[in-house]
């Protein structure tokens, strides 16, 4: 297939995945900020939300204060923020339109319908109710798009490139949450500080839709190191780094199989996956959780670049 087609498919699913992630971040933040301060501490959760989305510099250049109104606008509808939900859907639709014949009708309708719907939202989301409805809609759009791809696409390189985009983005998103909130997950050697962090932990789990999953997997109350384990090493958890890399290795192998050639992208993905598979949480904590996550984010970026180099240009 054309490299440009593969490139568009890759980015199309990346942007849809990112839109969903942003919606989850905003939803979680709204929830935290409704709690009395005594339950969450005195941090500015809106500022944290911007950091988790990875756009602090651009935000600070455009807004005086990190409050609900500004952050919701910046992450949801801002035309200036290239990674706002609006621009994610705009870019996704532009990519979809460029490769329309490579998409199934259902995928096209999911993304084109979302784009048409987006035109209805002007520049502001007024009430919290309106914001909540918008964020739900964004998540449903992502589910519909992903479900359409899963249920209707031929299992060939077109499909595999959409999967690669999805998992590279998802791994990046999960790692960014961990990056911003890692200090909450460190094993607490101090005397137990009460339940102050509980709601923060719950928010982290919600942002990766894993609160229920946590209880099914560990069957005990929420513990920070177990959250880290779930998001980093647990292969059952669809948004964990290990699960993302299990999929990346698998789909890269599918591609290498039909093209008859393994390359740097396959080797790089396998190296990261092997490291995740052979790691234990205790070692990661000893080595330094923050360092581990930073290395992972860099490695994941390098995989994106390797895929691009090998197939997309």
């Amino acid at each position: 297939m054309l490299s440009r087609t593969a490139d568009s498919l890759f980015w199309l699913s990346r942007y849809v995945e990112r839109a969903e992630y942003l919606a989850r971040i905003l939803e979680g933040t709204m929830r935290l900020t409704t709690l009395p301060l005594a339950y969450v501490g005195t941090t500015n959760e809106w500022k944290t939300a911007v950091a988790t989305a990875g756009n602090v510099n651009l935000f600070e250049a455009n807004y005086a204060e990190a409050n609900e109104e500004n952050v919701v606008h910046f992450l949801a509808l801002s035309a200036e923020n290239p990674s706002s939900i609006r621009n994610c859907f705009e870019t996704a639709r532009a990519n979809a339109r460029a490769v329309r014949t490579a998409l199934t009708a259902e995928m096209w309708e999911a993304i084109n319908g979302a784009w048409l719907e987006l035109q209805r939202y002007g520049n502001g989301l007024g009430t919290r109710e309106e914001i909540t409805r918008f964020l739900r809609w964004v998540q449903e759009t992502s589910l519909r798009f992903d479900g359409s791809a899963y249920r209707t696409m031929l299992r060939n390189d077109s499909y595999w490139f959409t999967r690669l985009g999805l998992y590279v983005e998802r791994a990046d998103n999960t790692a960014r949450i961990l990056d911003v909130k890692y200090h909450l997950l460190l094993p607490n050697l101090e005397p137990v500080g009460g339940s102050l962090d509980y709601f923060q932990w719950a928010a982290i789990l919600r942002s990766v839709s894993a609160l229920t999953a946590y209880h099914w997997v560990y069957r005990e109350k929420v513990q920070p190191w177990l959250i880290a384990d779930l998001l980093i090493l647990n292969p059952q958890m669809p948004r964990s780094l290990a699960s993302c890399y299990e999929n990346l290795v698998r789909y890269l192998d599918e591609i290498a199989g039909i093209y008859g050639r393994q390359g740097p992208a396959q080797r790089h993905a396998r190296a990261i996956y092997t490291r995740l598979e052979s790691s234990r949480m205790e070692e990661i904590f000893q080595h330094g959780l923050h360092e581990f996550i930073n290395e992972f984010i860099a490695d994941n970026n390098n995989l994106g670049a390797a895929i691009s180099q090998q197939y997309l240009m």
């Binding site: 297939m1 054309l2 490299s3 440009r4 087609t5 593969a6 460029a98 014949t101 096209w108 240009m313």
Partner: protein, 472 residues
Amino acid sequence: MTIAFNEMKELDGRPRPAYAELSAWLAQVPPDVLEFRRQEAELLFRRIGITFAVYGEAEAQERLIPFDVIPRILSAAEWNLVRRGLEQRVKAINQYLKDIYTGRDILKAGVIPEDLVFQNPVFRPEMNGQKVPHDIYVHIAGIDIVRIDADTFYVLEDNTRTPSGVSYMLENREIMLRLFPELFSRHHVAPVENYPDELLATLNSVAPHTAATDPTVVLLTPGVYNSAYYEHSFLADKLGVELVEGRDLFVKGEFVYMRTTEGPKRVDVIYRRIDDDFLDPLAFRPDSTLGVPGLMSAYQAGNITLANAVGTGISDDKAIYSYMPQIVKFYLAEEPILKNVPTWRCREKEHLSYVSDHLAELVVKEVHGSGGYGMLIGPAASTTQIAEFRAKLKSNPKNFVAQPTLALSTCPTCVDAGVAPRHVDLRPFVLTGRDRIRIVPGGLTRVALKAGSLVVNSSQGGGTKDTWVLDH
């Protein structure tokens, strides 16, 4: 002004034979049924996403071309005449282009003034002496035809560069088959759905000699912002070939390759929907980002077929148009089957003074214009508009040709007040391969939806109809 030829009815109101069934059906179909089908058709078009962009409007607007549900019908005998005329005309055009870029016999014989060719911006000196695969220059032509009376069809324009509209011909038929199955069962309508197959056979047949036995064909588009992008992706899909942009192709060692996920793949035939000017920044406009650097060098080496060839504009230019009857006679020694619209060339003194004196009756066109832009329709223009145009004409007479306002034939059309006659034209698509010429019966009928209007261009409020050629 003469009364327009009504394709459905004789002067006394009786239906003509080809329209007998349709006329009877229209007489008994309740108006709301027709209106309902019309809405259904619009819904279908919107859902499929058959849109086009209008240049000059804010943003790249995506609009629908209005579709009229009443078909335009041609009898087998009428179509036969048109078909033979098209084959003859396109054959002559291909010989003429070869001659213009090689021996130039027609210039030496004084049939066409040399300056009209050499000083024409659409003449491509890069093509001088250049051989093209199988001597075919125009593989796809969209010849615009208008009808004046029962026996007379005029060619209005020879579109021999990158004619568009064939996707509408195909989609119109699909939608009509869904909406009016009972009407089809009462007629014997020749199919058009094989057009993509015919086009692919044509493109495969003209691969360069250096190509593999199973040549690789691609469709080259300027990209999503082009007004005809929908058609490009539609055709690529139907042909089963890659839809490429300039950046997907590159030239190495005088061969053309496309960038694929499996590495470079050689390309043999490019069905290009990009104008000459933008094809290759090294040969033409250096600022073009749509093209492929070095493409002309591969072309000159004979390693790639461009459909259509570079420089075909010198055959559909409005200044050359008026010589087309002589061109047909010169190369084929036959009388033209399809007539030309009588044309005054304003570059000639007597013609200019006649045109200047009769602007109110004439249609005056810019020689290099297209899409209905920059023309004067005398009878519809105000005195001020005419005076302004006269000044434009005097300052650069060479730039204009004039034609009588033709009474284009009319077809029954759905309008707000019911069914009424509206002016139509016809664009059949003529495919020229190494082996033979292929034309699917009919083509795209365009209709001027405003009462009395003669402008059928989609950019100016025209619509389209399905065109039925009966098998008897």
